[in-house]
């Protein structure tokens, strides 16, 4: 049998009991309002992170619920930022969850007028093949140009491949990039340090 509204729910009594005679305070609260809580309170976990924008290195707290990020804000423990973020740092949530992010590998063939989606594995293999081909074709054991300043010097490298980027990446990523490219003989490895 459904519970009938009891007399104590009668607004006038509630107003009197809660000392809210005008009825503009808690008496007016809806069930939703009465149960308000920050969405971070129900997060499954909090990952500690660092802002990806400028180099100040503000601490970030990344709140995760059901394997989805629900909030990113400043880490008050950080001696760098004490919980603050600038507008870019505060927009990190949109950076990582926004609809602008693509989730598919895209390929544009020579002379093509549009992108085509291709599987990741296939793309990786295509790139590996191209690196090998370009490297083998442009390998320089010695400087062969007659008249070049370093004619005859051993160089063991390729000038046919170059890399750009790193200031937005992790140290571990830069380390593997430099290690791999140097072993391949790629010397034209550069990043945003010069812009």
């Amino acid at each position: 049998m459904p519970k009938l509204p009891v007399l104590s729910d009668w607004p006038v009594l509630r107003q009197l009991r809660r000392r809210d005679p005008s009825g503009l305070g808690s008496t007016a609260a809806s069930p939703r309002t009465r149960s308000l809580a920050p969405r971070t309170a129900s997060a499954d976990r909090v990952a500690r992170s660092i802002c990806p924008y400028c180099a100040v290195g503000c601490g970030q707290l990344v709140y995760v619920k059901d394997e989805k990020i629900v909030d990113i804000e400043g880490d008050p423990d950080s001696p760098v930022s004490q919980g603050c973020l600038c507008p870019k740092g505060a927009a990190t949530f949109q950076l990582v969850t926004g609809a602008h992010r693509l989730e598919q590998v895209l390929y544009r063939r020579p002379g093509g007028t549009s992108w085509e989606a291709i599987p990741l594995e296939q793309a990786m293999e295509m790139v590996a093949q191209r690196v090998k081909k370009a490297r083998d074709e442009t390998w320089q054991e010695r400087v062969e140009d007659e008249g070049a300043e370093h004619h005859g010097d051993q160089v063991r490298r390729t000038l046919g491949i170059a890399h750009l980027g790193g200031a937005t990446l992790d140290n571990e990523e830069n380390y593997l990039l430099k290690k791999l490219f140097t072993a391949l003989g790629v010397v034209q490895v550069e990043n945003q340090a010069r812009i």
Binding site: L24, T33, I72, Q82, C86, P87, K88, G89, A91, Q94
Partner: protein, 310 residues
């Protein structure tokens, strides 16, 4: 529960707009359009249904003492952040003791013309927000009970109750409350009611890098603000004053729960100089009406009596 509020100290604002974005992020608000206003660095324009913090930029051809010009000595240890973060966030560890201030060297020779001209310029920035008035027009105007005063003293619109009638929009003397085009409901700053329930600081105040937006118990904020005004005045910022910190200073709203420290007249920042909550006139009009009714009654009674006498 203690009354909480914002004290926005415009002299500490660097116009970074972290407050605007942190607010949008926490409250998941949509954008407001993408057009250049040509009004200095302000492309937000005004508070609205999906913009609950708005940083105003004012380029003035008047100097501001303390900005781009020499200022007097400052007392030791007046840390900007020392008293902040009432909800358990740390203040920076004191770096050095007995700090003696540095001064700009005194060079008597006159500055050249271009620098003189530059001295006659200042750039004011202010992060505007819902004032959470002590006497809130929106609250009193709402016919559905959608707006309530929370236990923190803030004014909160319940989106599940609001029916979009819009009475609150015209009842706000600051033009803060706004209806969203898509759902018609009224929206404004909630003072992060949900965060407060969880013991957290509002998103804008937490993000603010320079403590221009300070959040805390209202009484503490008022105390701090008055000290700050005295401090600024002693440094030559004669125009420093508080806006809406008490019922005395702003009777039309009976004081604001989000008040400001300004260095110029309120209208320079886009704030009304003497805001009056429209419903404040209701009592007066009831009284006037009652007086009128009573006078009429008295007249009628007098007429009857005099008629009898006659």
């Amino acid at each position: 529960m203690q009354e909480m509020g914002f004290f926005t100290d415009t002299t500490l604002c660097i116009g970074c707009k972290a407050c605007e974005v942190a607010c949008k992020q926490w409250n998941q608000l949509p954008d407001d359009g993408f057009s250049l206003t040509g009004m200095s660095y302000d492309n937000t324009g005004a508070l609205g249904a999906s913009t609950w913090r708005h940083v105003a930029f004012v380029e003035r051809t008047e100097p501001l003492p303390g900005q781009g010009s020499p200022r007097d000595g400052i007392e030791a240890g007046a840390g900007a952040f020392a008293e902040l973060r009432p909800l358990g966030q740390p203040a920076p560890t004191s770096l050095l003791h007995d700090v003696a201030p540095t001064h700009l060297a005194d060079v008597p020779a006159a500055l050249g013309p271009s620098q003189q001209a530059l001295g006659k310029f200042s750039w004011l920035m202010m992060s505007d927000v819902c004032k959470h008035c002590e006497r809130a027009g929106c609250l009193e105007a709402c016919p559905t009970g959608a707006i309530l005063r929370t236990e923190f003293g803030s004014v909160y619109i319940q989106p599940d109750v609001c029916n979009g009638c819009g009475y609150c929009v015209s009842a706000c003397p600051f033009g803060v409350v706004d209806r969203r085009e898509d759902d018609g409901r009224a929206w404004k700053c909630t003072l992060c009611y949900d965060r407060l329930e969880g013991g957290m600081v509002p998103a804008c105040a937490k993000a603010c890098p320079t403590a221009s937006i300070q959040f805390g118990p209202l009484e503490d904020l008022r105390e701090r603000a008055r000290t700050r005004v005295e401090q600024l005045r002693s440094r030559g910022v004669g125009g420093a004053h508080l806006y809406g910190e008490s019922a005395q200073s702003q009777p039309g709203t009976e004081g604001l729960h989000a008040f400001f420290l300004l260095c110029d007249r309120p209208e320079v920042y886009g704030l009304p100089p003497d805001p009056v909550v429209p419903t404040a006139k209701i009592v007066a009009s009831w009284r006037a009406m009652a007086t009128g009714v009573l006078s009429l009654a008295a007249l009628a009674l007098g007429a009857v009596l005099s008629a009898r006498r006659a």
